[in-house]
């Protein structure tokens, strides 16, 4: 019997996360060189908003599932007991307000909580996938993870970046000694910085001793970003390495096609539009930096200095629209959890990144001041096996 999946989403329109993620269950997806048709079906769907060009009704008619007006009914498929084998919460896109930190208030926690209510009332829990960060609030995110522990159901969450193709296809050795790490990203907060932070985290979590939490964070902007670089707070060597992996330098490259050594040719500061630096100091002393460099590049690149290995760097390949095949890499992991009942990588990764982002944005609105983050006392070990797309 195919696994019956309930999909809970904000909006189901072309190229929304719900469309390209849930559609893969309906029509299959490319996986290891074949078109894989999962042994799963969408049993029920909840859509919070139905803007123009909504596809949810069309999909329900074509693929024979029901839309329900509440989350509880969706999980029970209109009956009185939990009637699905897994839940996908895709709370991305749609029209939701922002808070004073600029975070979009997607109701992922609220929906997850309603799922937990059903699980508790019905005396049975099933695996839950939560797309992207757990919540804009660490406290809420923590509640979600705690509830999954309490009721003993697996949760997989996060971004596609940790699981997409890498150029080159590298993985940091488990228990390596990372001396410093840097990530370059682009795009708007709090969507794209989340992706960049999770890409960073999936690399640094492999360090010796595993993840032991974050001690403090700080977010600085504009001129302070370059001053911090001059002061050695982030490494120009690592930025050079990260940018050497980019396929999208802007400025003179766009103008006449030339290659550029952006760190040394004087163009970096000229190109960057309102750059942000996210400084993360981990409990074990590791320092990592995310530079969001809008106007400089449009891809996501990582570099770290690893003891005995020199500088390691790679690009997290975001394959083009409309296929966005990186989301097939993610759905492969979701299917794995629904099939095996085990999350292939720990939800604590997404928990800590949810908290890092929230605290960085708090630092920003509090005058860019450094913030102690004792609450980010999140411990976990990275999966032994690589989880990104490489076969």
């Amino acid at each position: 019997m195919p696994k019956r999946i309930a999909v809970i989403t904000t909006v189901y329109r072309y190229l929304s996360h719900a469309q390209h993620e849930a559609d893969r269950i309906l029509v299959g997806y490319p996986y290891q060189g074949r078109w894989h048709r999962p042994d799963m079906k969408i049993a029920s769907l909840y859509v919070d908003q139905k803007p123009e060009k909504d596809l949810s009704v069309l999909r329900a008619v074509e693929f024979g599932f029901q839309l329900y007006p509440t989350i509880a009914e969706t999980l029970r498929c209109g009956g009185d007991k939990l009637a699905v084998d897994g839940v996908m919460i895709i709370g991305e896109h749609g029209d939701y307000p922002r808070n004073e930190k600029g975070q979009i208030l997607y109701p992922r926690y609220e929906w997850f909580k309603q799922c937990v209510d059903v699980f508790e009332k019905d005396g049975r829990a099933v695996p839950v996938f939560n797309d992207k960060n757990l919540s804009y609030s660490f406290e809420k995110a923590k509640w979600m993870v705690d509830a999954s522990r309490r009721l003993d159901f697996p949760v997989l969450a996060g971004s596609s970046l940790p699981v997409t193709w890498r150029l080159p296809d590298i993985e940091l050795a488990l228990d390596c000694e990372i001396e410093e790490a840097l990530m370059v990203g682009e795009g708007e907060s709090d969507a794209m910085d989340y992706h960049a932070l999770e890409a960073l985290q999936c690399m640094v979590e492999r360090r010796k001793g595993g993840e032991t939490g974050v001690k403090s964070v700080q977010l600085v902007e504009d001129e302070a970003v370059w001053k911090a670089g001059d002061a050695g707070r982030w490494s120009k060597e690592l930025l050079t390495a990260a940018l050497s992996r980019s396929d999208t330098p802007q400025g003179l490259t766009v103008k006449d096609g030339r290659t550029q050594d952006l760190v040394h040719n004087g163009e970096l500061a000229r190109l960057a539009k309102n750059p942000w630096a996210y400084f993360i100091e981990y409990t074990d002393g590791l320092k990592a930096t995310l530079l969001m460099l809008n106007g400089v590049v449009t891809d996501f690149n990582f570099a770290a200095r690893v003891k005995g290995m020199g500088v390691q760097s790679t690009q997290f390949l975001l394959t083009p629209e409309p296929n966005v095949t990186y989301s097939a890499c993610l759905i492969g992991k979701v299917e794995e959890m629904f099939t095996t009942g085990k999350a292939p990588y720990p939800v604590e990764r997404t928990l800590i990144v949810s908290g890092i982002l929230e605290s960085c944005l708090t630092s920003r609105i509090q005058g860019h001041k450094p913030l102690e983050t004792p609450h980010l006392d999140v411990h976990y070990r990275a999966p032994r096996e690589s989880q990104h797309c490489r076969t």
């Binding site: 078109w35 050497s244 992996r245 980019s246 396929d247 096609g257 030339r258 490489r390």
Partner: protein, 417 residues
């Protein structure tokens, strides 16, 4: 303790102030045209401005000092490059570029980029890029100087098989290192996999995009860099048969190439055109493909050892280069994508030229090609034979002249670091 003479010299040398070990090599680039996104721009710029490589901004340890550009158009960039890089001078002739204006060969390597520019097309649709003519002028300088240096030729050797063979034979008779070809064999792969050495390949194909006498060559190099690693090495090609339009679909239906390999290759694409509106990534039926691909072209050919290969140009369906093969002992097809970060809106830098330039550098440094030019000699002949088959109303073209035998490089040369 006895110290050998060699160790003594090495030890003594370490006490001396640093000396330049050897003069940096000097290169000449011979190009058809130099505009934004032309092959010359991608290749020559990487020598002048460096490029991202192995996690740093790498500057080749050699100097491109001479440039010849055949056509200076309105959008020319060569003069801007020469002004910004005064160490590189432009010369009005190939001979002057190679002699740096003197009377004897004065460079240590030559980069020949005969792609893009306004050149005539023949009745078969081949653009008559003057690679052979440029090559002839290069070897004339070699002959006149009594000395030859390594040459890299971008893309296929010549549109004309006889001329291509002559280029190859000349390089052999004069004894200089000669390398050529496309970026496809050396770019990233997703996944990053290599054909196992000695694999018993039954059938191979590529699904690509673009047109005849252009990207067909890239699709053929995509296949050849993989199948040359098979058991016994390369043994040449016996015949080529092209299919186009309705004949393509009939051949597809008749199983001229394996449908499961075609599907496997398509499953490696990142650019599969959605066959239905509102779906972003959905596998096409043949009916869908017929609607999306207006001018499908296949070059189906058989190697002397029996291996069947097919290059499928499915412009309108994909915008990338995908490979699949049937190998003995493997239940599933072996497949990958030769990934090009293409600056057609997807990226801004054609970074697949970086591994190509890096392979050139290695040849210029060591005097040895990193992969055999016979690969490109064969794909040059396959391209011409495919065009010929199309020109002769899709009849099978016997290719006794493509009895090219060679062994692949022992090391993988695609981009993975």
């Amino acid at each position: 303790m006895q110290v050998s003479r060699r160790e003594f010299i090495a030890g003594a040398a370490s006490l001396l102030p640093a000396q330049p070990v050897a003069a940096r090599s000097k290169l000449a680039a011979i190009c058809t045209i130099y505009f934004r996104m032309s092959h010359s721009q991608h290749i020559v710029d990487r020598f002048l401005d460096g490029y991202g490589w192995n996690g740093t901004h790498h500057h080749p340890p050699m100097d491109l000092v001479a440039l010849y550009v055949d056509q200076i158009g309105k959008d020319d960039l060569s003069r801007e490059r020469a002004a910004r890089h005064p160490e590189m001078k432009m010369y009005p002739s190939i001979a002057e570029a190679l002699t740096l204006g003197g009377s004897k060969l004065a460079v240590d390597g030559v980069v020949l980029v005969g792609e893009h520019g306004h050149y005539e097309r023949n009745e078969k649709g081949q653009t008559k890029y003057p690679r052979y003519e440029f090559f002839e002028q290069i070897v004339k300088v070699f002959r006149d100087s009594g000395r030859s240096v390594p040459v890299f030729n971008d893309k296929h050797l010549s549109w004309n098989w006889d001329w291509a063979k002559e280029m190859y034979d000349t390089s052999r008779s004069m004894g200089f290192a000669f390398m050529a070809g496309s970026s496809l064999p050396v770019t990233w792969r997703t996944p990053s996999v290599e054909m196992p050495a000695g694999a018993k390949i039954r059938e191979a194909l590529s699904v690509c995009y673009g047109g005849v006498d252009s990207y067909d060559f890239h699709g053929l190099e995509t296949i050849q860099c993989m199948v040359e690693r098979r058991h016994g090495g390369e043994s040449g090609v016996k015949w080529v048969q092209a299919y186009r339009g309705e004949d393509f679909w009939k051949a597809c239906q008749d199983g001229v190439w394996s449908r499961d390999l075609m599907d496997a290759a398509l499953c490696r694409s990142h650019t599969l055109k959605p066959a239905r509106p509102s779906f972003n990534d959905i596998f096409p039926t043949v009916y869908n493909m017929r609607r999306l691909v207006k001018d499908p072209v296949a070059y189906h050919y058989q190697h002397a050892d029996g291996v069947a290969c097919t290059m499928l140009l499915m412009d309108g369906l994909v915008r990338d280069f995908n490979f699949a093969a049937r190998i003995d002992g493997r239940a599933e097809p072996f497949s990958t994508q030769m990934y090009l970060p293409m600056p057609d809106g997807r990226t801004t830098l054609a970074n697949f030229f970086s591994p190509l330039v890096n392979n050139m550098e290695q040849m210029f440094l060591t005097g040895k090609p990193t992969y055999p030019v016979e690969r490109t000699l064969l794909t040059t002949g396959l391209t011409a034979a495919g065009v010929e088959s199309l020109y002769r109303n899709q009849t099978r073209v016997a290719t006794p002249h493509l009895g090219i035998h060679y062994q692949p490089a022992t090391e993988s040369t695609y981009w993975r670091t």
